[in-house]
């Protein structure tokens, strides 16, 4: 080795040793690097449905009420509204907006902005997937479905520029928690109208530079499939609380790559942890691993419009022949809980009914009654899922369990996420994997999915009695009575079994020790304004 090579290598080595990782730089400059799992399709709160978009939106916009930094009960705290009063019959809420709540261009946030926003999401022409959240409002549903053409009749009124009155169809105990969902967030009317009609979707208003928000951060850059960068908003009313200067959201869909980025010091917090790494972190670096209870239900959808799944006995047999404990303990192994109901057993005081258990004998009997003794003559069936290690592994295990326990041979089909979504929406499947993450901490966030006109009801199942019970529950203010109604509704749902509940998945993430204020939350919400980074 000659002298120059030696010197060059020395230089290279010293260079390597000194280089700071993005996490270290971030800790110093208060830049949070977040794994965000997927690229948001849009950042319009009235359009998006994905958790990854919701994460970014929660940094950019703020609703009437907000979330406290560390409160397991998830009690709503003042957001844009500094205070509110409720009428005696619990249907009229009057919100007093903060005088210092401003849009990021300096305009004050007014009650009229909220009226505009709710008008927008409820517009029939907009077809917003989350419009049903606002069906709580008086005549909200009727306007959204086009039966009332006049928005004046909907229960949204600006008393003056800083006073907003919301009138509900029925008293709803969970109303304030529902307000924390992004579908209730305001948008800046002049910006929307500058780039298109009020009810137009996909316009340029959500682009960096155009986006005007009222949240703790403003949109600085959006590089497709690379990152979304948001920066501290100096005009935010509570800017003093915000400690971070910048957040970068990385849409890393491959969990293994995300974990590798974390190890390389490129991410502060990951969106998830790869299936087989949980065990490793649990044993070797437990301080970096976070497994928290989460309102997330993993289940299989059955196409009830199609034989043999139009027979409830077949559906029940399939559900009973799966050993969920085995899957949780030996396959997924990340703190999953076996699910025998659609609603997790840890939402407030609601305890879902336990209507079935793993019972192979009973399952075989039901299947025989349905005309398929020992699985004979069972029609060719395909289990559809989107490509992912977790889904593949669970599907393979379930396939084997059905084969061993019922004699049914099903085929597996994995497809790309968009194809999967399309097929599920158009009900082009026999059995499909699915999951549901609650939008707010109330059983109705789960049970409303299966309403006859629920935007996410992909099973083709509907029950008038079920709809009715949920309607009653929504208008009940007494929580024990409400829980009883929810339980009745869930009894119908699980009794008819258009879905096969499998597991309740925890929220999994890897987190650098420098991140402070990232508290467990059953909604996996971590209000960014309270997050701090330590050097």
């Amino acid at each position: 080795m000659n002298r120059f090579t030696f010197l060059a290598i020395l230089l290279l080595l010293s260079g390597c040793a000194k280089r700071e990782t993005p996490v270290e730089t971030g800790n110093r400059e208060k830049i949070l690097h977040l794994g965000n799992l997927s690229e948001p399709k849009d950042l319009d709160p009235h359009v998006v449905t994905s958790v990854s978009a919701g994460n970014v939106i929660s940094a950019l916009l703020e609703g009437l009420v907000a979330e406290a930094p560390n409160d397991p009960s998830l009690k709503p705290v003042p957001g844009v509204a500094e205070s509110w009063t409720v009428s005696d019959d619990r249907t009229v809420y009057t919100f007093r907006l903060r005088a210092n709540a401003k849009w990021s261009n300096g305009d004050p946030v007014t009650a009229d902005d909220f009226v505009f926003s709710y008008h927008r999401i409820l517009s029939p022409a907009m077809g917003s997937p989350y419009a049903y959240m606002l069906h709580l409002l008086k005549n909200g549903r009727a306007y959204n479905l086009g039966t009332i053409p006049d928005f004046e009749q909907v229960g949204v009124k600006a008393i003056d520029s800083k006073t907003l009155e919301l009138t509900l169809e029925n008293p709803t105990a969970s109303f304030l928690s529902q307000l924390k969902h992004w579908s209730w967030f305001p948008v800046h009317p002049p910006t929307i109208l500058k780039y298109g009609r009020m009810d137009e979707i996909g316009t340029a208003w959500t682009q960096p530079g155009n986006f005007i928000g009222n949240g703790p951060f403003i949109l600085k850059a959006w590089r497709q499939n690379q990152s979304i960068v948001v920066q501290k908003n100096p005009l935010y009313w509570d800017a003093d609380t915000v400690s971070l200067n910048e957040i970068r959201f990385y849409p890393i869909g491959d969990h293994k790559i995300e974990e590798r980025s974390f190890r390389a010091g490129q991410l502060h917090v990951t969106g998830t942890v790869p299936l087989d790494r949980v065990q490793y972190y649990r044993e070797n670096k437990p301080e970096l691993l976070r497994l928290d209870p989460y309102l997330r239900s993993y289940y299989y959808l059955l196409n009830v419009k199609k034989a043999p799944f139009n027979d409830v006995r077949v559906r029940k047999a399939l559900a009973m022949a799966i050993d969920r404990k085995k899957i949780a303990n030996f396959v997924t192994r990340s703190g999953e809980q076996p699910a025998y109901s659609f609603t997790p057993p840890f939402i407030g005081s609601y305890k879902p009914p336990m209507l079935f258990s793993t019972d192979v004998e009973a399952a075989r009997k039901l299947l025989a009654e349905a005309g398929y003794p020992n699985g004979e003559n069972f029609p060719a069936t395909t289990l559809l899922y989107n490509t992912s290690d977790l889904h593949t592994r669970i599907a393979e295990v379930v396939q084997q369990m059905w084969k061993d326990n019922l004699g049914i041979d099903i085929e597996l089909e994995n497809v790309e996420w968009k194809v999967y979504q399309e097929r599920r929406k158009n009900r082009l499947y026999d059995i499909a994997r699915a999951e549901w993450v609650a939008d707010f901490a109330d059983p109705s966030s789960f049970l409303d999915v299966w309403l006859t006109d629920g935007g996410n009801n992909h099973a083709g199942w509907s029950s008038a009695r079920y709809d009715d019970l949920l309607k009653q529950a929504a208008s009940t203010d007494d929580s024990s009575e409400q829980n009883a109604l929810y339980a009745q509704a869930e009894t119908i749902l699980i009794g008819e079994q258009p879905i096969i509940p499998l597991l309740f998945l925890p929220s999994k993430s890897l987190i650098q020790p420098s991140v402070k204020g990232w508290n467990p939350s059953i909604l996996d919400h971590h209000p960014y304004k309270y997050i701090r980074l330590e050097e």
Binding site: D276, F330, V331, E396, V397, Q400, L412
Partner: protein, 289 residues
């Protein structure tokens, strides 16, 4: 173009030459072992390729499980043997499809010459520009997923190369005396092509077949990697490598043995193919190609 004086038959001569090529012979032996083992899989292992043992989970290679077990507790050795069945089957069937289309097509094109040849070869050129992956995805979406379709899809791509090679050979043969003689005594065109010309390009066909099979097996791996190949619980080497790669940091043995077996197979086939080329087609010998 000089041919050896035909004393011994061409085949005996070639075999003699092939035997001298140690790499090719080693490749041949390894392939025979692997194919036999795959074919006799049920006799060689007490386990089933799909029987899961969830309580066991992934364990390292041991006396009970020679190559360890995968995350669902399935014996990897067994899955490797059964995977070999799929991989060899894909390789052989898809190559057969490519021969079935490519050889007659190339022969007709080369024999006819002129405008017919131009048109037929332009069609090949056009098909050649079609992106393979997209074609396969489209086929899968339209016809649904099944293993036969995959043979067809891969074969349908591979025949293009075969057709070009055969055409070149046939063009050279077509002006030779024995073809003219056949024409003179009034043999029909199909008879000339299939009775006289194709037997003369058999050497080339064999060589390219041995080179196409590994190529096709690699394609199956590639499709499995995209999730378009074989569906679980069936196994193929491609699928095993894919699954192994996804857990390589936690359970490295799930990647190592399938990867080694697959690489060894590819090496063997390529060595054998090279050896056969040298032996059967003297013009290409000495590694010029």
């Amino acid at each position: 173009m000089s041919r050896k004086p035909v004393k011994n038959s061409l085949w005996a001569d070639s075999w003699k030459q092939l035997r001298k090529n140690h790499a090719a012979i080693a490749g041949l032996i390894i392939l025979i072992i692997l194919i036999t083992a795959s074919a006799l899989a049920p006799l060689l292992t007490p386990y089933s390729f799909e029987q899961q043992n969830l309580e066991l989970g992934a364990v390292k290679p041991s006396l009970h499980h020679w190559l360890g077990t995968d995350t669902l507790g399935r014996d990897l050795f067994t899955r490797l043997l059964y995977g070999g069945r799929t991989s060899f089957l894909v390789g052989i069937c898809a190559t057969a499809v490519s021969l079935l289309i490519g050889v007659p097509y190339g022969a007709v094109s080369g024999y006819a010459g002129g405008k017919v040849d131009s048109v037929m070869m332009r069609i090949v050129d056009i098909l050649y520009t079609m992106p393979f992956t997209i074609l396969v995805i489209i086929l899968m979406v339209v016809f649904g997923r099944n293993i036969l379709l995959m043979f067809g899809a891969i074969g349908a791509i591979q025949w293009l190369v075969m057709a070009r090679i055969i055409r070149g050979q046939v063009m050279a043969l077509r002006k030779q005396a024995f073809v003219e003689a056949a024409i003179a005594i009034g043999a029909s065109h199909p008879r000339i092509i299939f009775k006289h010309i194709i037997p003369n390009v058999l050497g080339i066909i064999i060589v390219y077949t041995t080179l196409t099979i590994p190529h096709v097996m690699l394609m199956e791996t590639f499709l499995s990697f995209l999730g378009l190949g074989i569906q679980p619980p069936m196994s193929s080497w491609g699928l095993l490598i894919k699954d192994g790669a996804s857990v390589m940091e936690t359970y490295p043995w799930l990647l190592i043995s399938p990867a080694i077996v697959f690489s060894v197979t590819l090496f063997s086939m390529n060595f054998l193919g090279d050896g056969l080329r040298d032996a059967l087609d003297p013009r290409f010998s000495k590694g010029k190609f």
